[in-house]
Structure formats: structure tokens, C-alpha cells
Assembly symmetry: C2
Homo-oligomer: 394 residues x 2
């Protein structure tokens, strides 16, 4: 199905070009990208942390550091994991440049080029980037694979936790597991639960980050590898870039020491929960035929539009209307563009602009999909408990 | 030759253990590590930059960014390279986590496991770390190699620039060249010269950093790959850790925009030049039989003691005496401990403690090496121009 608009330019822009164009235009309401809300960045506290850091004798925050990261920060990370049931010592924690580097190091240790890694049908695009760069293959979780890449606490893009049965099934495979815990603190209904790490130290590479709960620009994440892989992980970190950012680590360490981080997380959960509810409501009103996967937490809502259309056409049309999103193929190991799906992130959109964003999206969709997707229909009287549009298509 | 002190512990500590122990003890005068002087960290200007960054609307300094780095920073890097004769556009610059990541990405693109890379007989240990991690082999520059790793502006550990003949010879190999420019701004006698990049865009991967001239804790470096490798370098950067640190980039960009960076570099060159002279003088007085390679710039002096002794014994003895250094084997691709050599960094030692550090080193050496290295001898009346102890052993 082609656009009915004037003919497109000779080489149509790809998704990233469209997303960059959208991101550079403040008039575009950006449901793409998975960015945390900048209004929640604790600017004053971070400034205080910075000032304390550079005023210390020798300004160690500005100097070289050891490859494993700051001891005080590793101690705080270990303590937070211990409170969730995982007996981790500070010396078992390796600070990394965000969760992405932790993931890249784990995959480097576990997989040679050509290896298959079990993932959800839709998964974190950063993981797929590492697969592509290293010649790894995304495969179904129950297939013949070298390792599993899981988000047990809360998945991206769908925003669901793994239940006990799914966890037991994954552990029963007796395979190495990369546990991506990035969104664990952002479950709307309660604190982060027990990580897989707590029950399987020998097989689990636990990956965490402060990007979602503090701010991503600091790039502070961490890896807890199985003890026997610790030395190798450290060697990879050192050879990759010597050490994690000293300044950013010092700021995070100071922040955790001076602020009530748990209170902050409660505030974040409420804020994102409220925005997710607002986005869901607008979607059900404006695009009632779409199949919507109601999330348990996180930054986004995963949706299936009610007809198949080329996703790049939809994205281009959406950007024309002043709204953007993440096309579903980004999250699929094989890059499949069907079934048509979109990830809509409420996280970095002003609360007051969410409804307008969805209206623009609905307009773009109606212009692309035509009569079959024409107008809003009345919201069902009762959406029922739990997922409104369950069962999911897949 | 064994220590004459009480018997050592069952498992003698390795070099890194000794160096970490030394670094943690403020009583030890640390000639090891290659750290810049913290007294020159521009704390006030960096604080002003931080405050400006977090006060901007949306606090983009704390948010996610694009994998290639901030456009404003890339523009400033390109401009500085253009002034040295290399016609580089901002979009050809990739910001990295320090020079180390730039180097790791270049090697990732150029070399498969097993490949041989041509290096100086003594070279940057971070490069050797990447070789080890990736299964590459350090080989002589004139051997059969896949690529050359060079420090044309100023080498580490020796602190010499490549002359025109050496540059011409390297280029005549028509091999890919990784040009490590980390110390280029720290030549005692004048500004950084023309990089190899200026004359060979198709073959040179240019690696630079602000770690030596601003501060290392920010971890801001850069890579200018040959244009045809740009997309691949960017993919590796993205898969490794998504993007460079936004906060650190914003601070460096702001610093370059608000401060006279060239004036700062002149100040650094004078400061380190003065300290190098002080270290050289103390070495010639206290350890007159050592062979000393007088550097043209940088943070360190490379020396050959006058007798062969196990370097770990010497390091352990030195730490006992309250002084540390980098053992020569760190800088050798094959890890050879002979000929015995040490790198002494004046950079992060208080000026007033340099003489005392060398006295301790001389004591440690005399205790280890015995009569052949006994006392200071009178300094020769005139050291002559240029290198005092030329010709070098190798």
C-alpha cells in the first residue's frame, strides 16, 4: 500500500533519519526513543554532588580510576541487590557505561560469532545492535541457543515481568542468562522484586543501570557476572575504555549517599504510572481498534494497529502530522515489519501533550489506513480487569 | 637475585597489586600510572560549565544523546585538527570514552583475532591490553603486519616524536595506521604539529583525547576514522555502549567555548617541562649510572637501571621505601622483563617531592643491586646538548 500523498523523494528516508528529524523539531511530539522525563532529573542534588566532588582534595572525581569502578558506588549497588535477595559483595560488581556496555561485555564473554541467543519475540534494540555487530543471531527462547537474554523484572518494549513459571522454565534450561534489570525499579505497582541473580549466581550475568532512575547522560550502569567470569569481564572493560567515567560515578555515589533514593523511585513509579494511564486512555479513545498491550511498568506502551501498512510509511506520515514513535521492527531480531507494531513512549512527553500526540497519531493513521481505521469509536463501557485487549496477537 | 630482606610471602604480589597498594598509600611517592597533575584540573571552570549545562532547558546534558557525540564538540575537535593541517569535517569525528575506546574501535575494525600489529618496542600498555583481549599480536614495525600502531606526535613511554624520515617510512608501508595523538599537545618546546591524518585520510585512524589536557575523569576522547570506515566505527560505538557520556561532553564543549584552551596548553607544557627537568636532574644526581632517555614532552621519563635485576623485586623494594614506578615489561608486547627498565612519571608527583622520590628510588636500587650501584657520583660538568645519556641501549 503506497502513500496517497505527493510522490516521495527518490530515496525515502530510513527510520533513523526520520527519528532524528523528529527529535530535532520541538514541534514534534516524541513518543519515540525511550527517554526518561527530564523534569525528574534532580538538577539541584546533582549540582551539589558535583560541587562536593570537585572540591575534595586531589579532585579524584576528575582523575583516572580503576577499571572496576569506585568502591563506594559498588558497595551501594551490592547493598541494593542484597535487599532484593541477591547476596552480592561489592567486589563482584563491575561499573560500566550504562547497561549497554554491561550487556556487550556479557555477550563478548559468552558468545562467539555465529552463536544463537534466545530472546523474546520483541526485545531491546540495543541488544540486537550488539548481535549485529558481533555476528550473533537472535533466536526464540525455546530454541537451540548458547545463552538467554531476558528482562525478568520488566520487559522492553512490552513492559511485563516474567511470572514464576516463566522464570522456572528459563532456569530449567541450565543455560547462561543475561538478566537485563534496567526497568526493575519502574514497576507501577511496587518495588523491584527478587532478581534471577539471587538464585543462580553461577549462570546469571546481571545487568543494571541508573539511566532510568537518575539520568542517562551520566552513563552509569553495572554488571554482576558469575564469579568465575569476573576477571575476564574486568579485562574486557579495561581493554574497551580503561575504566568507567570517574566524574559520573562520583556523582551517583554521592547522590545515593545524600538522597533518599527509594523515595525518589516511589515518585518515579507514580509519575510514569500516571502518564501510562493517560496514554492508554487516549489510545483507547482515539484508536479504539488498535490492539494495546497494557504495561506493568516502564516508559512505553506496545500497540498493534488494526491494519497492516508499511511501517516506514506510517512513521513518515506521523512525523508529517507532528508526532513520532518507534517502529516495531526495531525490536525484532529479524527486523520483521509485520505484524505492524509501534512502541509509544509516554516517558519524555509532557503530560499535557499526550492526548494531542495521540490525536496526531490517529490522524496520521487514518490518512494512511483509510476507511477501515476511520474514526474514534465509543470506549467499551468496562475494559475489564488487567489487560484490556488481551489476548495478544502473539 | 633474591631480596636480602625477611622472606617474602608465599605468593609474591604481582605488579598491579603492588601498584594498587602504593596508590592507596599517600605516603608513597607515585612515579607510576601516568596520571595528569590534579593541581592543574580547572575546577572552577568545570563547575561553571556543569552549572550552565544542567540549568539549560530540558537539561540535555543529563539525557540520552546520539552515538557519534555532540555536534558542537565535534565541531571544535575538527577545528583544532584543521588548524594542524588536517581537513576534517565535524561529521567525520566520533566522540569516544577516552582515547582507549577510539583505539579499541579502530583495532576492532582493522584486525581479526591472530592478526599482527606493528608497534614500537615499548608502547602504550592500553594498546597491549586490547591486543591481549582480542587475540592480536604485537610485532615489530617493520615486520609482516596488518596495521601499524604509532604515536607520531609524542610516544609513550619514551616521549619522542617521529621525525620526517620515520613518518615517510611508515607511510610508505601503505598499511592502515592507528595514529595515537594523546600526548600531542604536551611537547615541551612547542605546539602540536601536523598529524599523519593530514596526509593520509584513507589509511589513518586518528585517536585523540582530552584526558591529558583537561582531565581524565571526564573520559572524553575521539576517533577520526577513514571516511569509508565511519559507518562501521559508529555501529561499534553504538553496540559497545550506545553513546559517549553526555554530561562529560557538554562540560568539555562548554569549556572549549568559554576558556582559552591554547593558553591552558602553553601553561601545561611549561609545568610538565619544568617537572621533567627536575626529575632528570635528580636522576642524574642520585642514579648517575642509569641510562636515561630524555623526553621531548609528556608525563614520564624512561630509564634503564645499570644492572639487570627482577623488576618485581625492584618494584616491591621501591614500595617498601615509599616510592613506586611502572615496570618496563608493562610496555612490551611480549612482556619481557629484560632489559630492566622503568617508566617514571613526574606528572602527578608534587614538584617538591620529586627529589625525595628519586632518593627513595636510589635507596631501593642500591639495596637491591648492591655495590655496583652504590652511591651517587659527581654529575658530569657538562651534560652536552640534547640527550645526556645517548646513545640509548636500544
Amino acid at each position: 500500500v503506497q502513500s496517497r500523498r505527493p510522490s516521495p523523494p527518490a530515496a525515502p528516508p530510513d527510520a533513523e533519519t526520520l527519528q532524528r528529524r523528529a527529535a530535532a523539531d520541538p514541534g514534534v511530539i516524541g513518543f519515540g526513543g525511550g527517554l526518561p522525563a527530564d523534569v525528574l532529573f534532580p538538577r539541584a542534588a546533582l549540582t551539589a554532588a558535583f560541587v562536593r566532588a570537585v572540591q575534595r582534595p586531589a579532585a579524584a572525581a576528575l582523575q583516572y580510576g580503576w577499571p572496576e569502578g569506585l568502591e563506594g558506588l559498588r558497595t551501594q549497588i551490592a547493598e541494593r541487590l542484597r535487599r532484593r535477595g541477591a547476596a552480592v559483595a561489592p567486589e563482584e560488581v563491575l561499573v560500566t557505561n550504562g547497561a549497554q556496555q554491561a550487556l556487550a561485555i556479557a555477550l563478548q564473554i559468552l558468545c562467539r560469532a555465529g552463536a544463537r541467543v534466545g530472546v523474546d519475540p520483541e526485545t531491546y534494540p540495543g541488544a540486537l545492535d550488539v548481535f549485529t555487530a558481533r555476528g550473533l543471531v537472535a533466536a526464540p527462547l525455546d530454541g537451540d541457543v548458547r545463552a538467554l537474554y531476558l528482562m525478568p523484572a520488566l520487559s522492553n518494549p512490552r513492559g511485563h515481568g516474567m511470572d514464576d513459571l516463566a522464570r522456572a522454565r528459563a532456569r530449567a534450561r541450565r543455560l547462561p542468562i543475561i538478566e537485563d534489570d534496567a526497568y526493575a525499579d519502574l514497576r507501577f505497582e511496587g518495588p523491584a522484586g527478587r532478581p534471577l541473580l539471587a538464585d543462580d549466581r553461577e549462570r546469571v550475568f546481571h545487568v543494571g543501570t541508573f539511566s532510568k532512575t537518575l539520568c542517562p547522560g551520566l552513563r552509569v550502569g553495572y554488571l554482576v557476572p558469575p564469579p568465575r567470569h569476573k576477571a575476564r569481564a574486568l579485562r574486557w572493560k579495561r581493554s574497551a575504555d580503561l575504566q568507567p567515567n570517574t566524574l559520573a560515578q562520583t556523582i551517583v555515589e554521592d547522590f545515593l549517599g545524600h538522597q533518599d533514593f527509594d523515595a525518589r523511585i516511589v515518585k518515579l513509579r507514580r509519575y510514569y504510572g500516571r502518564k501510562a494511564a493517560r496514554l492508554l486512555e487516549a489510545l483507547r479513545r482515539e484508536l479504539p481498534r488498535w490492539e494495546i498491550d497494557e504495561p506493568e511498568g516502564g516508559f512505553a506502551v506496545w500497540c498493534y494497529p488494526d491494519e497492516e501498512r508499511p511501517e516506514l510509511d506510517f512513521l513518515a506520515r506521523a512525523v508529517d502530522e507532528g508526532v513520532s514513535f518507534d517502529p516495531g521492527s526495531m525490536f525484532r531480531g529479524n527486523g520483521a515489519v509485520t505484524p505492524l507494531a509501534v512502541r509509544l513512549c509516554h516517558s519524555s512527553v509532557d503530560e499535557a501533550r499526550i492526548e494531542e500526540g495521540v490525536r496526531r497519531l490517529a490522524r496520521a493513521w487514518r490518512r494512511l489506513a483509510g476507511p477501515g481505521a476511520r474514526g474514534p469509536r465509543a470506549r467499551p463501557a468496562s475494559p475489564g480487569p488487567g489487560r484490556t485487549n488481551a489476548p495478544l496477537r502473539r
